[in-house]
């Protein structure tokens, strides 16, 4: 049954290829895309069920034993993440026909989307550092295709910056992998962990780890490496923005969580402080950007950054509560960010502008849209009983346990400012006198159903947190004890 571990990669991969062949028949492509997304979601749900029930699944690709071949690992963390991304995939594919032009859909749009998810899933499940690089490239290449898709002037302008920054960090990534190979003689993560823990010269490992930290932090849009992100995320179609906002930066965070709990936590006095301070600054500068923006899409895009800060801080706290907080925050943020991007896209499409100062009074004609946006804002600011609160509470508790008062204060202040940025936008868009001349848009209610689908999940992750939280807390303990992963992959032997 270990072959199941290939499913998270295989389903979207095959779907992507198949959809490339049907690209001329748009109706069929749409339906197939929905079917595949649904299959993916169900399969991932099943996998999570199985993993939680029977334990993690390890697949040695091509039957080459670890650490020599490539290992795919479905442990609770990666399975939860692939499941979450399959939820987002479904919502995005559902929303797409209402927003993406048929012309674009005909140009392999869904293929790119599915291959992006392939890369993302691959990055989540792989147990091999170089293979992680390859999957990064898959998702990046798909994202390059999507960000330029449509070829509008702004898209071309911003996507160049996007490609350049990512190219630099990719090159840094492979080089850093080769440094690690020189020092530890392997690229298998479990073996790296085993070897890193066994050495008495942690300094060089930490140094190389710093390089990798910056690689992942660039993808994750952490301070001071986030500059490329907000503007490039808003130029493609809202569907693509949602996909990016929900998945891409989070892959960076996931890689940080995985590698820095498993392998590179040899000198906590350096690593933890780095995470904490980068996290603190990320929160502050991100929210400053959100406050500074008048463009609704940009407000949402900037709001990605403080959330990344929260997650980084949780890694830096490095205790049970901190890590569970980080992971919970990661899961729920993926969903709420996707919802917010889709909402922002809907708002801009309905209003005919993205400038919040040019909108007003839209609650009268679009109450559902308005309240969903308001609700998403509360989620984002971590107002109970919604999902953002659960993660934030754990992070605050973890930080206090560690004695990081400054971090707590920054977290709470950031929450307040996030709230300000969203509520201010809400007031300007939906309240006030007059009403923006709303445009006749295609399927404006059809857009809201997939968003509602995502919102249901965020509410569930808050009110029904008990369904997931114990698992997340187990994951945190599991991350705090890398030996379990090592034994899992290397089978305790060798």
């Amino acid at each position: 049954m270990t072959n199941l571990a290939i499913l998270p990669i295989l389903i979207p991969f095959l779907a992507g290829i198949l959809l490339a062949f049907t690209h001329n028949r748009i109706q069929l492509t749409r339906r197939l895309a929905m079917v595949f997304a649904l299959i993916h979601l169900i399969a991932m749900g099943f996998l999570l069920f199985k993993v939680l029930l029977d334990g993690s699944i390890v697949l040695e690709a091509g039957d080459w034993i670890a650490p020599y071949g490539i290992i795919l690992v479905l442990d609770p963390l990666s399975t939860l993440l692939v499941l979450t991304s399959s939820i987002i995939l479904l919502a995005v594919v559902w929303y797409a026909p209402a927003s993406v032009s048929e012309e674009q859909e005909g140009f392999y749009f869904y293929t790119f989307v599915f291959l992006l998810v392939t890369g993302v899933s691959g990055a989540f499940v792989t147990g091999d550092l170089f293979n992680l690089f390859v999957f990064f490239e898959v998702l990046l290449m798909a994202s390059y295709a999507l960000i330029t898709h449509g070829g509008k002037k702004v898209q071309l302008r911003e996507s160049i910056k996007y490609v350049l920054i990512n190219l630099f960090s990719s090159m840094l990534f492979v080089t850093a992998v080769s440094y690690i190979y020189a020092v530890l003689g392997t690229v298998n993560m479990a073996q790296l962990a085993e070897r890193a823990a066994a050495t008495d010269q942690p300094g060089i490992i930490t140094t190389v780890a710093i390089l990798l930290f910056f690689v992942f932090a660039t993808k994750g849009a952490a301070f001071p490496l986030y500059y490329w992100m907000p503007h490039s995320y808003i130029v493609p179609n809202p569907v693509v923005s949602a996909l990016f906002g929900a998945l891409l930066t989070k892959v960076g965070v996931y890689s940080l969580i995985r590698t820095f709990t498993l392998i590179f936590h040899q000198q906590p006095e350096i690593i933890d402080q780095l995470f904490l301070w980068v996290g603190n600054l990320t929160m502050l500068f991100g929210v400053i950007g959100a406050l500074a923006s008048r463009n609704i899409k940009l407000i949402v895009a900037y709001n990605i950054i403080p959330a990344i800060g929260f997650m980084l801080v949780g890694i830096g706290i490095f205790n049970h509560d901190g890590l569970s907080g980080s992971i919970y925050y990661l899961l729920q943020d993926m969903i709420v960010k996707a919802a917010l991007f889709l909402l922002a896209g809907t708002i801009a499409a309905v209003a005919g502008t993205a400038d919040i100062n040019k909108m007003g009074g839209m609650i009268r004609s679009h109450p559902v849209l308005g309240w969903m946006f308001f609700l998403a804002g509360l989620v984002l600011a971590g107002v109970p009983p919604f999902s953002g609160f659960i993660g934030k509470l754990l992070l605050v508790r973890g930080a206090f346990e560690k004695g990081e008062t400054v971090t707590v204060i920054i977290m709470l202040l950031t929450s307040l400012l996030i709230l300000l940025s969203i509520v201010r936008a809400f007031i300007r868009i939906f309240w006030g006198e007059g009403e923006t001349a709303t445009q006749q848009t295609r399927h404006s209610t059809r857009r809201l159903i997939p968003v509602g689908f995502l919102m249901l999940f965020t509410v569930f992750l808050g009110v029904g947190a008990e369904a997931i939280l114990p698992t997340v807390q187990q994951i945190a303990d599991y991350l705090l004890n890398p030996q379990e992963y090592i034994d899992l992959v290397l089978k305790g032997g060798r």
Binding site: F133, V134, E137
Partner: protein, 112 residues
Amino acid sequence: MEIIMIVLAGILFGFAVYNILQKQLLRIIIGTALLSHAAHLFILTMGKLKRGAAPILTEGTENYTDPLPQALILTSIVISFGVTSLLLVLAYRAVKTNGTDNMEELRGNEHD
């Protein structure tokens, strides 16, 4: 020999970064190409140089050069090629559409 190669790769890296920091798109792309050369040289060197025969099994040879970095480089070369070609076409389209190849003129603003 490895020291020399690491220094060489470092120098290439430096030139790459210098080009990346230019305004003109073509220069930046030249920078990225140099960057991948430097990275591949680093990878190769990390596997030690000249410690045995080329990694093709032949009778009677005991020592081979570390094959893994070579495999990694091969993967990386192909990927870099993909990225570079996309970047070139993208650059071409961007320059045509925006009418400039000066990145400083492509800053953009909030509402477009």
